[in-house]
Amino acid sequence: MKNSNPSGKPGMNFKVLGRVLRSLVHHYPVLFPVALFCMAFSAVAAAVPAIFIQNIVAVIEEWFRTGDWAGAKPIIVRKLTLLVCMYAMSITSNTLYNQLMAYITQGFLYKMRGEMFEKMQSFPIRYFDRNKHGDIMSRYTNDIDTLRQMVSQSIPSLVQAGIIVIAVLFIMIYYSLWLTGIVLLGVVFMVAVSGRIGGGSAKYFVRQQKSLGVTEGFVQEMMSGQKVIKVFNHENQSKEDFDKVNTALFRDAFKANAYANTLAPIIMNIGNILYVLIAMAGGLFLLSGVKNISVSGLAFQVSIIVPFLNMTKQFTGNVNQVSQQINAIVMGMAGAQRIFELIDEPAETDEGYVTLVNARIADDGTITETDERTGRWAWRHPHNDGTLTYTELKGDVRMFNVDFAYIEGKDVLHDISVYAEPGQKVAFVGATGAGKTTITNLINRFYDIADGKIRYDGININKIKKADLRRSLGIVLQDTNLFTGTVMDNIRYGRLDATDDECIEAAKLAGAHDFITRLPGGYNCALSNNGANLSQGQRQLIAIARAAVADPPVMILDEATSSIDTRTEAIVQRGMDKLMENRTVFVIAHRLSTVRNSDVIMVMDHGRIIERGNHEQLIAEKGTYYNLYTGAFELE
């Protein structure tokens, strides 16, 4: 198992940010730029009033000594009308970009989610075996959430703050270089402080995340073992252990939040102090008659200093806003990176070109393809020379000298040869890790063999399209997975166009009909949480019915009846036998009574087949099988 990747470390990763922006543009080539433009426009419009204040203060200065309101009024009204127009446009663009961003964010997340999910469906089983499910899931939950935060809030607020800062900076330089210099010095200080505190906050947020993971793991283990804790009177010990984990989490959560919560008042008040400094400097400059250096060429006067003070506020307010986004951005980038990692994962390759088709088979054995469901199938095999041949699907599976390793160099299977003729029942027994399940993983190509060959009805399975290959194999696994929906939906999962009657028929064959009718709602009983309201044995019966309705020519039963008691199993067995007439079946079972009536039993040990034969032959051999059967050996 791979641990959650180390690349999830915090830090500025502009490559990822760039990719997020690129995919935003890719998905919304018109809307996103429009939204950005509106953002920029409303930001500029927010910066401009500083000029109006300057203008109006200048007017006031001009008129207030005379007290002639009538004279000043038209000028002020004219200026304010202009301001109102600006505001109208600004509010329009503000509304527009906010609405657009809400739309874009959700659309973008929808597309990302869809892309992740679709890509994930194409991953080889290897991916799911190697990655913790919780880790995969957190990409859909936590990481998507951080991405949402980043796209809907951090990016607009960065863009806006950035533009306002630049616009204000220009206006400031327009008015006075000296004062701008002081503001910039102050801002450098603020950035340094917020970098330090914000950095501490980000560090502890990551730690808090980790502590949370530890706590979750601990709690998960203890809660699922709660009954054992009770039986052993271990409650107090367990409380003490939890307190340790809990305290560690408290410490990290406290620090992370303490950094984050003190940042805002500190930055804000540095802003206030900066304000005072500007006011004093302005006063001093006015008094001492220092020559102003500015683009506008205006000399120091009150009508410059007053708006300048407002701009200082605006400037520092925006720096504050950016500093508040540091956490969100750091976490958003880490999240985006993990999402991209999933999307970039290579998909399962499939070079197969032989497909499975419904077939009509004439008495003379000629096969014609049809769209109808005839209950018979054929492999449609196109050749290089453009001709097509059809091979009847019979369920003849042969493995020749197969070797396989999950990790290179660590062979799990050696020299495995198995011949399963149509209608035969082939069983595998052996200890855990002997390689039984691995064989079935190779037949349906969840994994590809390293050496040797596998033929299905005489066709190299590498030539068969994976989906078609798998469609022709019904698989029932020990760990049954049911999906949210009704019992009927779950059975129908085996064949989507099966009628209700066909599903019920399959349930009867699987011996599941009786208990299903006793469920509240019968076949319409809603299952959720992997069928939590059913027993493990009942879940297995539904899984068998699901495979039965698919009506596949080859069936693989991997410990499919392990949780069913022997009496029920006998019922299931009868149904299965009927179902499996003329079908090939691979059975893996712990319980030897399950495999006893097989045509061939393969006894496996450390990746090799050490004995093969039917029950009577193997008992007569008095080898490993005999010892297992009489209970002298332990099967693990």
Partner: protein, 587 residues
């Protein structure tokens, strides 16, 4: 709610400190614009001044500037301290809630445990508590501060600029009504979205877990379509909710802008008409600041409201656990000693919940002498496990009585009873840690020799000794690095270390081979003859030689006897026996 607030305890102090400093900060912060106005006015006074008048003006600038700087520093300190204490209060509050939930769960009886799935308890301990922590932090920082700010700002603005503060008459109602409307529409929408969102994530998890099934049936396309429908559905709802909330921003801007225009116009008029006597330029910008502060505070209030409603669900889910009363409790004057290992079921009936229609056990009348070996067989759901769980009082009988050592189990001190009745559960769990740590669950003071002894008896010593680290071998979470049979034997050894009067094995040797199984039972017979041994098994060979075999069927005791008598009297026993032994005999 009350129940949760009880968890505050030692974090009441930082909470109160937060409130205090937040109030101080708000007070100072609302002073700042007024002082700033003075500063601006002093600067404005500079125009055309020279000589002494100018230096007097500069002095006044310095004075107000210094006052302002001191205020800023004070505000920084108050804000900083409040930020610190509120983090401590909220994180501590969360810690205490987790502590209490966890402690509560430890006090749960089996009945309580059955009620909550372990995954739901994990969510309550993590996500729900995190929600509450966040909400609490918002609450103590903002819930007091924001209304205070609004009031202070209005007062200050009115004192400072009089009729100029009329602007609030417009902007406050507009914002309040606007925010309320947005909230009314958005909140239910969000609640719907989050519910759907949870469902979507559940279905993704289902897909990840069931990938072998998906691929096995080649259902990738079907899953994609299913997912796309659900995801698109969420997108629509989510977009709607977000778009409603996105109206906040322009609404806010509208108010700020209105205020700006109003203040500029009315303000200029006032200044010019009064020749700067009534108010001055400084007050103009102060008014802008006050208006902005009020609007921000109102905005925060609306956010708090949202956070509160969102976390209400979490609060409810946490309270559910805290309010759960353990269904079992110690008797008034408990018996601490279990005399012997006899067990008597006197006409026992049991059902898992009061509302259940069917009894899981009924009419059980069984008398087991101390030291006996008892086998129990029966199909799944026949009530075997239920029956034995009544002995260590994991559940209370609905009717009748269960006696251990001649005394009703309800009269014992529960820990004492459970120490004397060791039970190996069917769903046994080994915890992460070393083997010896796991075994010491049975007896924390056990010596190495005692541990080795128990392992010999459980036939676990053979494989433990083959591990390079022996008893110090680390067990991984879920016990994934030992096989099923090894895990079962460790669990038996763990139970043996209790040196119990009664040992119950609930299908605990199913993965152990028959030979070892027989050796374990033989060991029991020879080394712990005085301990009553109750063995539930699927395998007939595990119970065949017991002194007493109980055949369960459908919650009823179908037959009691020995192997010989049952072969004659019990058709169920006979059937199972023949099914399991026929082939070996012929082999």
């Amino acid at each position: 709610m009350k129940r949760i607030l009880k968890c505050l305890r030692e974090y009441k102090k930082p909470t109160l400190l937060t409130l205090l400093f937040i109030t101080l900060e708000a007070l100072i912060e609302t002073q700042i614009p007024t002082t700033t106005a003075d500063l601006v006015n002093s600067i404005k006074g500079f125009n055309g001044l020279t000589g002494d008048a100018a230096s007097a003006a500069m002095n006044s600038v310095l004075r107000t500037g210094l006052t302002l700087a001191v205020m800023a520093v004070l505000s920084l300190i108050c804000g900083g301290v409040a930020g610190y204490t509120c983090s401590k209060a909220a994180a501590g509050f969360a810690k205490n809630i987790r502590h209490d939930i966890y402690g509560k769960v430890q006090d749960f009886s089996f009945e309580n445990i059955d009620k909550f799935s372990s995954s739901s308890l994990v969510t309550r301990l993590t996500t729900d508590v995190a929600n509450v922590q966040f909400a609490y932090m918002m609450l103590i920082r903002m819930a007091v501060r924001s209304p205070l700010m609004v009031v202070f700002c209005i007062i200050m603005a009115h004192r400072m600029a009089g009729s100029l503060s009329m602007t609030f008459v417009f902007i406050i109602p507009v914002l309040v009504i606007g925010l309320a409307l947005i909230g009314i529409v958005a909140l239910p929408a969000f609640r719907r979205v989050f519910k759907k969102y949870d469902k979507l994530n559940e279905s993704i998890e289902e897909n990840v877990r069931g990938m072998r099934v998906v691929k096995g049936f080649a259902r990738e396309k079907y899953e994609n379509e299913k997912f796309d429908t659900a995801a698109n559905n969420i997108r629509k709802d989510f977009t709607f909710a977000e778009r409603v909330v996105a109206l906040n921003n322009p609404l806010m801007q509208l108010c700020v802008n209105f205020n700006m225009v109003f203040v500029m116009y009315v303000g200029s008029k006032l200044i010019i008409e009064s020749k700067g006597g009534y108010i001055d330029v400084g007050q103009l910008s102060a008014m802008l600041t006050y208006a902005f502060q009020i609007l921000m505070s109102l905005m925060f209030l609306s956010i708090i409201f949202v956070v509160m409603t969102m976390s209400a669900e979490s609060v409810k889910r946490i309270s559910e656990v805290l309010a759960e009363t353990p269904s079992l409790s110690n008797p008034g004057s408990p018996v601490y000693e279990v005399k012997d290992g006899s067990v008597d079921f006197e006409n026992v009936a049991f059902k898992y919940s009061k509302d259940a229609e069917q009894y899981a056990i009924s009419g059980a009348d069984i008398h087991i002498p101390s030291g006996a070996t008892v086998g129990i067989i029966g199909g799944t759901g026949s009530g075997k496990s239920t029956l034995v769980q009544l002995i260590p009082r994991l559940y209370d009988v609905t009717d009748g009585r269960v006696k251990v050592g001649g005394i009703d189990v309800k009269d014992y001190d529960i820990p004492s009873l459970r120490d004397s009745v060791a039970m190996v559960l069917q769903k046994n769990v080994i915890f992460s840690g070393t083997i010896s740590e796991n075994l010491r669950w049975g007896n924390p003071e056990a010596t190495d020799e005692e541990i080795a002894e128990a392992c010999r008896l459980a036939r676990a010593d053979e494989f433990i000794n083959t591990f390079p680290d022996g008893y110090d071998t680390k067990i991984e979470q879920g016990g994934t690095n030992v096989s099923g049979g090894q895990k079962q034997r460790l669990c038996i050894a763990r139970a043996l270390l209790k040196k119990p009067r009664i040992l119950i094995l609930d299908d605990s040797t199913s993965a152990v081979d028959t030979k070892t199984d027989a050796l374990i039972r033989e060991g029991f017979r020879n080394y712990i003859p005085d301990t009553t041994k109750i063995i539930i098994a699927q395998r007939i060979s595990s119970v065949q030689d017991a002194d007493m075999i109980i055949v369960m069927d459908n919650g009823l005791v179908a037959d009691i006897g020995t192997n010989e008598t049952l072969m004659k009297t019990s058709s169920i026993y006979r059937e199972v026996y023949q099914q399991q032994t026929a082939d070996v005999a012929t082999a």
